[in-house]
């Protein structure tokens, strides 16, 4: 229980750092989706199953779609 929590939390932090450091906005979108799925896993571990469902559909699904749509309408280029 504690170990699953700790491992997934570490993955979440790595995904967050990677999402803000990578120099391609499409890669940021995908890493942000991975971040949301890790978060969903964390909530399922903590017993918040309703929150996990919402995060999987809304956080990882809809927000990634918004993100990719916005990146295709703008540019993938970023300086930092």
């Amino acid at each position: 229980m504690l170990w699953i929590d700790l491992i997934v939390l570490t993955f979440v932090i790595f995904c967050a750092i990677a999402a803000i450091t990578v120099k391609d906005l499409l890669a940021t979108a995908i890493l942000f989706g991975a971040y949301s799925f890790m978060m969903c896993l964390l909530w399922a571990v903590m017993g918040a199953v309703d929150v996990a469902f919402t995060e999987a559909s809304v956080g990882a699904g809809v927000s990634t779609v918004f993100f990719v749509a916005a990146v295709f309408r703008t540019s993938r280029r970023t300086k930092d």
Partner: protein, 130 residues
């Protein structure tokens, strides 16, 4: 020092949430790209939501659905047997609000790009001061 270490280890999840929150704050302040700033905002929000949900967690407790509710031998319900569902419900609303905020912010970023052909903050400042 020897007293401090068990205290830190016992609340390890809070420390990791604070790290996550600081990553989000850093991205909001220091990143130059508007989309990166939005990602930072979302990371910050999810760190706060994680903190709240973890407050409601109890060790050796089960999901907040009453056991034997229809078989009814009238046993007393112990609050310690169930995870506190109140933070879950509040944070469910917060997730939906955060995705709505994200969508509106993305729409604004697309409009800014259509007008100025850039999403970088320094280029936008240069363009606005001309």
């Amino acid at each position: 020092m020897t007293d401090l270490l068990p205290l830190i280890v016992a609340k390890y999840n809070y420390w990791l949430y604070v790290i996550l929150m600081m990553i989000g704050l850093y991205a909001m302040i220091a990143k130059n790209n508007l989309i990166k700033k939005l990602v930072g905002m979302n990371i910050f929000q999810t760190a706060i939501i994680l903190f709240y949900v973890s407050i409601g967690y109890k060790v050796d407790a089960t999901l907040p659905i009453i056991q034997g509710a229809h078989g009814g031998q009238g046993a007393a319900i112990q609050a310690a047997d169930y995870i506190n569902p109140l933070p879950h419900v509040l944070m469910l609303t917060a997730i939906v609000v955060s995705v709505a905020t994200f969508g509106v912010a993305m729409a604004l970023a697309v409009r800014i790009y259509q007008r100025y052909q850039t999403l970088e903050e320094d280029e936008l400042r240069m363009r606005l001061s001309e």
